[in-house]
Amino acid sequence: MKQLFYSLRSRIFLSVTTLVILLSLIFGWISIVQQTSSLELELIERGEITARHLSYGVEIGILTGDENGLHALLNKLLKEKDVLYAGIFDAKGQNIATSETSKLLKKHADTSNTLMLKSGQPLSELWVKNLWKQRDIYEFHMPVINEIHGSGESMLFDGEGDMQQQVIGYIHVILSGASIQHATQQTIINGIRTFFIVFLLALFAAWWLARALTRPLAYMVSVIEKTQNGDFNQRIQLHGQNEMTQLAMAFNHMLEELAKRNGKLHEQQRTMQLILDTAPVGIWMLGLDRRMIFMNKAFSTAVGISEQAFLNAKHYTELFPQIVSLQATQSDNQCFTMNAMIHSQEHIPCSDSKVHIFDVVKAPLRNNQGDMIGLVGIAIDATSRLQADAEKEQMQKQVEHTQRLESLGVLAGGIAHDFNNILTSIMGNAAMAERKLKGVSAEGAAYLSKIVLSSEKAALLCKQMLAYSGKGHFIIKPLNLSSMIESVTSLLGVSIHSTIELKYHLADQLPNIEADEAQLQQVIMNLVINASDAIGEHSGVVTITSGMMYADTAYLAQTVVQSELPLNAGDYVYLEVSDTGCGMSQEVQQHLFEPFFTTKFTGRGLGMSAVQGIIRGHQGAMNVYSELGHGTTFKVLFPASHQTLDHHAEPTPLSEGKWQPSGTVLVVDDEEMIREVASLMLEDIGFNVIEAVDGQEGIEIYRQYQDQIVAVLLDMTMPRLDGESCFGELKHINPDVKVILSSGYNKQDVTNRFDGAGLAGFVQKPYNLNELEKSLRLACTTQV
């Protein structure tokens, strides 16, 4: 009811009705007052006119004393409307003629005397009226003026100064105001009737106006309510050209704009939702009440909690374990308290049942006024990144380690190269001295023999160093691993303690492997000796196993020793050496292949380094299984080869008896001591020797003495012009030139570089006289 009272329609209805009633009353009252006043003025004017006419009309009668005429005039006047009484008096106030007096006048008015008589003085004005409204009668007194145009002879002359006025009597007229009262009453009655008609019309008009005004509004309100529910297709259909229609058009235009904006907003929301959902980060918003008001799909999926569950949850504890909730709540509080962006790292259990590490940024959510209304959180799963970082760090360490080892390898190779040069000189000189003292001094020869023996051990050490550095003397050929193991069995038996039992599990049908025989022996020996050392003086078993296996990339990837090049999955021939020894700690395993790392009191720490270098040089792999106290197993894999055993023997030189060394050999080496010892040995063999300090000098000498030079002993590494370039020049000078390369590096490495170039031979530094002679014989007696 109250709502109905305060409704616009009711207000308009009441306002218009009240206004019409008030206006009707006001105008009605004004109309009555004006009409009454107008009627009164009209009556007064009529009375004045009547009195004035009467005064003119009775002038002659008074002048001529025609009383009958005056009476007739008054009675005639009495018949006129509202006239109650009329009387005529002479200049002295004596009544000349009087009309009949009505009952009303007898009751209210005294007509016996005029005002003039009461005051005792003649009227000073031309006419006087006296109104007694209380008695509803109106009295009019009028002097009767006689205009005198002169007297006597002046009547005969013209002249304004002669004109005079003289009061010759008075008239007294009384009018009734009853007509005014009657008219006023009639006006009031008519006014009341009119008022009721107007009131009814006003009621209808107010109702119609209120309805006309509010119906479009109500219609618009219904459309607005539909619009509030999101239906922007609603339109207000009003006809006409009034303000309501203009309002409706404006509103429709606004709705169209709203629909467009709403469409854009929805599109933006969808886009934003898509972005938020597909973003690979967690995004959420919290209100000031710490309740979740938004959670994107990515985070919801990541943590395995539905978005609705997030929105329904009152606290993190309903969603996460206690410690996670506490961590999140603390960072929320920090953001709310500081009113600033904060960064944190939170561990959150995810749908994969793992705890992921998230980088979390929480920033204040502010309204247009800058007041904080919540916070927005962004979580990036940093688990993979952190793992990658850790792996990268590990890799970096490994790379650094590898680089360090490679550096050591380079260092070891360089040292071994130089040592080989030195040892070449020592061994050569010792061999020459031994030959000279042979039969002269047995004691001196014995010493020289020890020098040679020590030099050979040093040369072996250099070989291991070169093997570690991957620059050992590799002569690759198809080999059968089981056969190789069997061939070194005798050697193994003397290398291990007698308390150790050697067991063999060798496969019979094994594919060949392409390997350097000497280095493969070295691998077997090193592993078996290490196994033996691990068992020590205790009794134990060393088991040597060979076989073939298929290794996939995953298996190959987790091996501890790999080639520099990625290994392909496929068939591998393996060598497995197991012992029941003390096993290795993790720390020992980490440093297992580091050169000069040893757990042995007398060890040089190059055995496993050499093994690693040899395996890498053969594109193999190795795994280590060791457990402290439970022994160790080394498993070495070599790619299986489809080549059969190479039964083609190397070109065999002529027998010693058939070869007569003669001619000149050009020795090209930058090391003077090499040149000297080589020259001594060559001369001892039976050659003339010409020395050149580098490749350039060697070419010049060869060009000069090529007719005499039967072979060239060419070093690889030299200043100005190295061995490879020098070889090319020599071949250019004489395609049939016989060049024997001399190098501390492995033959394979060297000969690969001269493959097909017509190299006559290769002698590995340090070489002794026999090896040099063998090489020369082979070169000189064999057609390349």
Binding site: I60, N146, H149, E153, L156, D158, E160, G161
Partner: protein
């Protein structure tokens, strides 16, 4: 009677019995014509100063006396100054009831306009008028009535002349004759013409649609149709010219009519009477009343 004083005549004595505006205008007109010393004497109605005035005039010995009004004329007749007298504004100079006879040395200008002239003007303005009434005192206006009857007869209209001895009788007669005629003629007869009778005639003229012929412009202004009258200033000027001729020794008629007639017309009254006023007539009007501005 004062004895003639033997002394040298000097100037003109003007005798007036009232200092009214017509007299003032006449004296002004007189002065414009006469270039002589003038002495003006006023007579009171009671005659208390008449002797002193007579003595003073006798001592002055004017060459001529210019009398304005009947009282002044009778004063000269009573004293006998033995000098020519020129009078104006005397209605009936030869009326025997005044006790004085006309003197040979009296010269004057008549106050009345010839009835024929008035009737002719009446016919010019209102050609339908056939009956004219006039109330008069036979003791004073018999001669003018006689002239009027002749003039009316000549113009083919009927003049109803009703004699009345006093105002009351005149009032009664006016009331009885006016409903019967087309026009009512006012004549310079102060027995009949009073303020009351004029009002009565005016009232009845409106009541019965009777043309009322006025005596002076003020009556035309009050409601009469028209009036032919003399102009006071012109009368004075005419008298001055007469004086100059007398003093020059030339022969002058004893009584002459006014040289100039003044025509006034009430257009409003003509309208109420249903009269058409032609332009030629309006051109003759000296002063037109009742014309809306």
């Amino acid at each position: 009677m004062l004895a003639p004083i033997e002394a040298q005549a000097d100037g003109i004595a003007i005798i007036s019995h009232a200092n009214i505006k017509p007299y003032q205008l006449a004296i002004a007109g007189f002065r414009e014509q006469v270039n002589l010393p003038i002495h003006i004497y006023h007579l009171d109605n009671r005659g208390e100063q008449h002797s002193a005035v007579a003595l003073d005039i006798a001592q002055q010995q004017p060459e001529l006396i210019f009398a304005l009004g009947k009282l002044a004329l009778n004063f000269t007749r009573h004293i006998h100054f033995h000098v020519p007298v020129v009078f104006i504004f005397v209605l009936h100079p030869n009326n025997p009831s005044s006790g004085h006879q006309h003197q040979p040395s009296e010269f004057g200008i008549a106050m009345s306009i010839a009835p024929a002239q008035q009737f002719k003007m009446l016919i010019d303005i209102a050609p339908s008028v056939k009956h004219i009434a006039v109330v008069y005192n036979p003791k004073k206006s018999a001669s003018i009535i006689q002239q009027a009857k002749i003039a009316a007869k000549n113009l083919g209209i009927h003049l109803l002349a009703v004699p009345a001895d006093n105002q009351k009788m005149a009032t009664s007669l006016i009331a009885s004759v006016m409903p019967k005629v087309d026009a009512m003629w006012m004549i310079p007869d102060i027995t009949v013409l009073t303020s009351t009778t004029f009002k009565q005639m005016l009232h009845l003229s409106l009541k019965y649609t009777v043309v009322l012929i006025g005596l002076a412009p003020k009556y035309v202004r009050a409601g009469c149709l028209f009036a032919l009258s003399f102009d006071s200033h012109a009368i004075g000027s005419q008298a001055g010219a007469m004086v100059k001729r007398i003093l020059a020794g030339k022969k002058v008629a004893n009584q002459v009519p006014p040289n100039r007639v003044y025509f006034t017309l009430n257009k409003q009254a003509a309208k109420q009477l249903g009269l058409y006023l032609p332009t030629s007539l309006l051109k003759k009007v000296d002063h037109l009343y009742g014309e809306r501005k």
